[in-house]
């Protein structure tokens, strides 16, 4: 197991290098430059700016300097925010993205899991079907429709929650609701099919025959394999939630990572783009690894690091 983890981490390093190198060149190939604005400044001032940020050097020197900085975990100054470093901006973005992402996912789990189990146990109940139908509606309603609808109801009609903003608990409610809607149904569906599949297995029948309490059968024997599919869905979706959800952050004016990422791309803020890309890549790699480890712990059929 330890060898497996070590190997995964070592494999992640060339992967990260590849991602960052590609990003480094792609952003420079995009037309435009970091300090361009509608009103052009004299050529000499542009030259001062380029020199200030080392953009006057040939690309291989810029690349070497950037990689040298990375080794020291120095992502450099942001071009858009000359008073701040990329590290500070990324931390700032996480301060908003992490609570919202975690809260939304926790809510989705809290609602989706029981709902899925109920749906598996009573597949023909009208109530369960109605609730599942509602949940599916949550998946198919794009969040840029759901968000404004919630704002209209709770902010502009009832005046309960602010329509946008960030910083206090009351700002969390609407974005978290909007964000979790899609995940509730997804998790419920995954749980439902997992539990249904498990309940049809022979070992469940054996357990019934042996007189095990139905609740114990459900919780110990049926839910555990069902959780595996939910768990493998958790890794990528949590990384996605943490890296910022651009649309939600736009609608609710949340200064999260996604907000800064879009701004950075529009402003050709090379260093900030690279900083956020590398954070997202690392988050994805680490979360996937954690999920794989958790699955191995839950599922005796999976043995990490062994062939076949």
């Amino acid at each position: 197991m330890r060898g497996y983890i070590l190997r995964r981490i070592l494999l992640a390093i060339p992967l990260l290098w590849l991602i960052l190198t590609l990003t480094f060149f792609v952003v420079r190939w995009a037309p435009g430059k970091p300090f361009r604005r509608e009103r052009a400044v004299p050529a000499e001032i542009e030259a001062h700016l380029d020199r200030h940020y080392g953009l006057d050097k040939p690309w291989y020197v810029q690349y070497a300097n950037y990689m040298r900085g990375l080794v020291r975990l120095d992502f450099g100054p942001s071009y858009r925010y000359p008073d701040a470093t990329v590290g500070e901006i990324v931390r700032q973005g996480l301060r908003a993205s992490v609570p919202i992402g975690l809260a939304a996912y926790a809510l989705a789990l809290g609602l989706g899991l029981p709902l899925g189990v109920l749906a598996a146990l009573h597949p023909h109940s009208a109530w369960v079907r109605a609730v599942m139908g509602l949940a599916v509606l949550g998946v198919v309603t794009p969040n840029f429709v759901l968000g404004p609808l919630l704002v209209l109801l709770f902010s502009l009609t009832l005046y309960w929650f602010p329509p946008a903003g960030w910083g206090e608990a009351r700002h969390l409610v609407l974005p978290v609701l909007t964000l979790s809607a899609a995940y509730v149904a997804y998790i419920a569906r995954l749980t439902q099919s997992g539990v249904q599949q498990a309940l049809a297995q022979d070992y469940i029948r054996t357990a019934h025959a042996k007189g095990v309490h139905p609740r114990a059968i459900l919780l110990r024997h049926a839910l555990r394999p069902a959780l595996l599919s939910v768990l493998s869905f958790t890794g990528p979706s949590l990384a996605f939630l943490l890296a910022g959800t651009v649309v939600i952050e736009k609608i609710f004016a949340i200064p999260g990572l996604g907000h800064f990422f879009v701004q950075a791309a529009l402003n050709r803020d090379y260093t900030l783009i690279l900083g956020i890309v590398s954070f997202t890549a690392i988050a994805l790699i680490v979360l996937n690894l954690l999920v794989d480890i958790a699955i191995a712990l839950l599922d005796p059929r999976v043995a990490l690091g062994r062939e076949g």
Partner: protein, 598 residues
Amino acid sequence: MKRLVCIGVGLLLLGSCAHPAAYFGKIEPPEGAVLRVGNGADPASLDPHRAPGSVEEQIVINLFEGLTEYDPVTLDPIPAVAEAWEVNEHATRFRFRLRRTARWSNGRPVTAWDFVYSWRRALAPETASPNAYLLYYIKNAEAYNTGRVKVRDRRTGRFLTDVFGRELMLTPDELRRIRREDVPSEARHLQELRRRLNDHPWEAVTLSAEDVGVRALDDATLEVEMEAPTAFFLKLTTLGVYRPVPREAIERYGRAWTRPEHIVSNGPFRLVEFTPGRRVVLEKNPLYWDAARVRLQRAIFYPYDEATTVLNLYKAGELDVLVSGLLPPYALRRLQQKRDYVSGPYLLSYFLLVNVRRPPLSDRRVRWALALSIDRERLCRRLLAAGQQPSGAFTPSDFQGKYPRPSKVGYDPERARQLLAAAGYPEGRGLRLRFLYNTGALHAQIAEAIQADWRRTFPLIRVELINQEWQVYLNTVRLGDFDIARRSFSADFSDPTSFLDSMLSTSPNNPTGWANPEYDRLIQQANATSDDHRRMALLARAEEVLLDDLPIIPIYSSVTNFLRKPYVRGWHANVLDRHPLKFVAVEREGTPPGFSGR
């Protein structure tokens, strides 16, 4: 995607306010003397020298106080750190008397030396200030900032000048060419200069920070020498880039000096929080010399840029006032009926750049034909609908009647048809144009309206609309890779030169390829004239030359428009959309009763 959100919420919003109320949304003032401003974007920096645009300026002018301050209505310069000033007859030398009560937020007095330090820093190449060009009116400022040299006659010790009496400047490259006698024959001014230099023993002079024409005569007297007569200099001293910065904090903390824990400022407010993407919080500065006059305790600037989100926040009473230009177009007509809607003239011109290097646009008749076939009146009334004025000129205003603004370009499809036929394109046959615009605002709709006007007048014309993302568009324009491109231009300060300078043949803001020596000469002559009346007349003549040639096709002059809660006082519509918070207050009493927007 963004548009979908807008339309979705737009329809809902419109549906929800079926009963028009006098005000839009909540009108209860916030707790305490706090003003919450929708500022439209995140400030890039709060360093007055590194703050590139109006978003930053809006905040910076409240943290740092310059020699002069904006009058909140007229924007005329009023005394601030300077309590009085005098200017010589030719407007080449200004002397400011500083008030002795002005203090930094650490208690140190603000002196003339602070301004000397600050202006030198703004011009230092290492500072890389994007706004340094605004200080070029000061003696030797441009030469120091750009690394150009001046040429001195060794015998007389005088600098060589051009026909208007302004000292010559050479780029290092030009200097090298002259020294090596390697001057291309098409560079006529260099050829001429080389001939002049052959008659004199001369030397090239590199200029340093100490040569910049700003001096402290004593702690309370600042003297500024100009490169040429600058009658409007007091409008410049109000700009953010002219405001003083604290030497002690900059030298101690470097890049991080603008952090709330490090910053030292001299304005009516001081910085207590700057969280990128979230907000900037200012608090009343108790050490400010005129603190008795400042009525706000706190001001919060929010960076929200999504028009619908901003509108929602305003409606829900989370914002008290918005800067201009944040209102979503779909809601304008409804908002205009509300009493919180404020609008006024704005120094912003919307126009088309014409690439005069490319045939057939190199033909003046084609440019005129295109210009005369745009129905600006209809465009402004039907599409824009915020009070924009059809424009027949490059400058958007007559500057309070001081500028005899020429207005030449109107709507005359008949004459347009004749001109285009005379140029060899009857009915537009064989005329193909690529019309470039960027994503955002109403640019697409404006381009489509102009395209339709052209098609109506010239049935056989082919106009291809090309939409590019902002940075791509800027790049394409810069490279001159367009036939026609939309553009808007707003003034840095309220003077026609702020617009007209951009069409000089040497200006980085003139990508049209148009260069007219007569225009350049008139502008330079105007800039060397101290009599304001005569200066304005010369500028107007230059603009006439520009409009005769039409390398730009005027479309409209813009307006400011924003929402302001009834309890906000002292935040006025003005031509630059600048709002010094020193004059702003939140009044709990006096809100007309019985109005609720719910």
